[in-house]
Symmetry: C2
Subunit: 370 residues, 2 copies
């Protein structure tokens, strides 16, 4: 009847996250090969999936380590045996975080972000004798204007980190402004230029920028070995509606969907497309919606449909494919706008292959916000 029904195993109830392991493995292999072919290291951002089984597949395909956003994520992946972790965040070390980071540094190779003299001093003071075990990368703002210093200020932060007893390993940036139509090329160029300038500033101050780390799924394949040593894409492994609408992946590259059921039809109204309600809302899809997105997510098997409104447990879908709404009770697959948020909303995911349920994976780092 319907591709969604065929692709959702009968044992699955809705709403539920499905991960297609064949597509996942293809995405992992493709990014690994492309990045290695350029002579760059790949350090995937694990905040996207938060699942040790996916991390191990990335490492087996050649990733040098993982990127994470928090100490809590690092703890989960270290406990799962990942021995090289970069916390790409300008940590402020509270007493609790200091104790946890000391433990982590004793168990795995840990590097962390820093973007202020005060943050560097707090990091060194909190780590105490363990500071010598932790590398820092100075965060650079390459145009996203979130955290990070201007490239020319990198040496000041590096000096503060060094004075605090930390090892300065290099510089990193996140070109988040690449997540918009027409922006990846420009953002990638700015990213490379910022890393290059910052590395030169470090060098002039007597620090070697051994690591020059760029990032993001939109720019990873545009990054050149002349301006970086590693990249940190995250979303590529699963794909989402944002990357689809940015043209950075195709429908057949989307490995994560949310199985949902049609629970209601709108009464037909003159001048409006037919509309239906799915049982997947913002509490499983996430509610990110950039201004350029065409809706709150897409439907895998109905490219014309648009999610025009999202409540916690309802998605309102405008049906542009044809005039005939699938009946109440039909199961459809939804592509979330931002996969990192969807994954963070569930305790585990159903792993599928060719319509069969193969396994369940626990989202072990879900909710690890600190």
């Amino acid at each position: 009847m319907n591709a969604g029904n065929a692709a959702i195993p009968a044992g699955i109830d809705t709403p539920e996250i499905l991960v297609d392991m064949d597509i996942l493995d293809r995405n992992i292999a493709r990014m690994s090969q492309a990045v290695q072919a350029k002579g760059l290291a790949l350090r995937p951002h694990a905040k996207t999936h938060k699942i040790p089984e996916i991390a191990h597949r990335q490492l087996a395909a050649g990733a040098v380590g993982l990127t994470v956003a928090t100490i809590g994520e690092a703890e989960v992946f270290a406990a799962a045996g990942v021995m090289d972790l970069f916390i790409a965040y300008p940590l402020w070390l509270s007493p609790q975080k200091a104790e946890r980071l000391r433990h982590l540094a004793a168990a795995a190779e840990i590097s962390v972000g820093v973007d202020s003299e005060a943050g560097a001093a707090a990091l060194g003071a909190g780590l105490g004798a363990a500071a010598a075990e932790v590398s820092v990368l100075v965060e650079i703002d390459s145009g996203h204007h979130r955290s990070g210093v201007q490239p020319e200020a990198a040496a000041t932060v590096a000096r503060a980190a060094s004075d605090a007893g930390l090892k300065v390993a290099g510089v990193f940036t996140f070109p988040g402004h690449s997540y918009a139509p027409g922006k990846p090329l420009e953002a990638a160029a700015q990213e490379q230029e910022a890393l290059h300038q910052a590395a030169e500033a470090l060098s002039a101050a007597g620090f070697e920028a051994r690591v020059m780390s760029g990032g993001s799924t939109p720019t990873a394949l545009l990054t050149k070995a002349s301006g970086a040593t590693e990249v940190r894409p995250g979303v590529y492994v699963l794909g989402d509606a944002q990357q689809l609408e940015l043209g950075r992946c195709a429908l057949e590259d989307i490995a994560l969907t949310v199985a949902a059921t049609v629970v209601s039809h709108h009464p037909p109204a003159p001048g409006t497309p037919p509309r239906l309600i799915l049982d997947a809302g913002s509490k499983i899809l996430g509610s990110d919606r950039p201004a350029w997105a065409t809706g709150f997510g897409r439907l895998m098997d109905h490219p014309g449909a648009r999610i025009t409104a999202l409540s916690e447990h309802h998605a309102t879908v405008e049906w542009h494919d044809d005039g005939v709404l699938p009946p109440v009770g039909t199961r459809l697959r939804v592509i979330p706008n931002h996969v990192c948020l969807a994954m963070n909303l569930v305790d585990d995911v159903a792993v599928v292959s060719r319509g069969n349920l193969m396994d369940r994976w626990v989202v072990a780092a879900r909710g690890r916000n600190k």
Copy 2:
């Protein structure tokens, strides 16, 4: 130094959700008294808090039962001893859901929503002999245009439910279009009119609308006993930035905040307000942002500040209060835009009173999407 620092107990690390129990109890008492004074029943929506300790406080203050959105939420609250639960959702009963709903109906007084003949038939078929134990309320669209039938169609759905062996208890609606500036009065009037029309349609078809259930924090205090028998507000218990900006609560009514730390400052730029970065992003605040909202959340002790951008672990704050940014390391309290989403992102919350940590409550129904 800073009200945020004083109000965040030293034992709390960031980011972390704080629930102020004094404000919580005052919100519970105030809504209970106001609703009871009108002769209406109060059935708070527990999807907001998902915490049995809060539910028991609501029931102790006179709530007649709880509203929930999913069978999973109903299971959690039934296990916690709540014996009267309304699942305000047009459930489509998969085999898995049918079995769970049968178990629930054996353990507690359960009513569910229905808004289609097909849904009613599936509900009756799935429940089998247990259908007689489950009441249904026909969902009416009062202007939000999400799920629900037009008032005049209520009798058709009621008839299908009755034919399927279910008890028809009445009608319900959710005036979600009340969540916008200037809309609550109009939405409340439409809600009452829709419930009234639907009840008349049921009556004409031989069904008694014993329950006429309205809802929502923006309209609950506007609802009149002439047009409803009960109301189902949820957010009132905790408050959030949306209700604050809609004028439905004041700053001193906000019981839930997210403790966050300043981790970075933007370099000053001519013509732009000073900006800082907090360690609370969309993975703890949620990313709902209605078009009319002034940002992605508010700061409790700095009413002029605005969250102008939100990433998963970063909030970018424009500092309009004065020109002096609080130093990196300062702890501040953030008011999420939509408290129901924030609560769903954490495993437990810190319960505070006058700046002291009193308890921790588990968000027992977190992630119960089905």
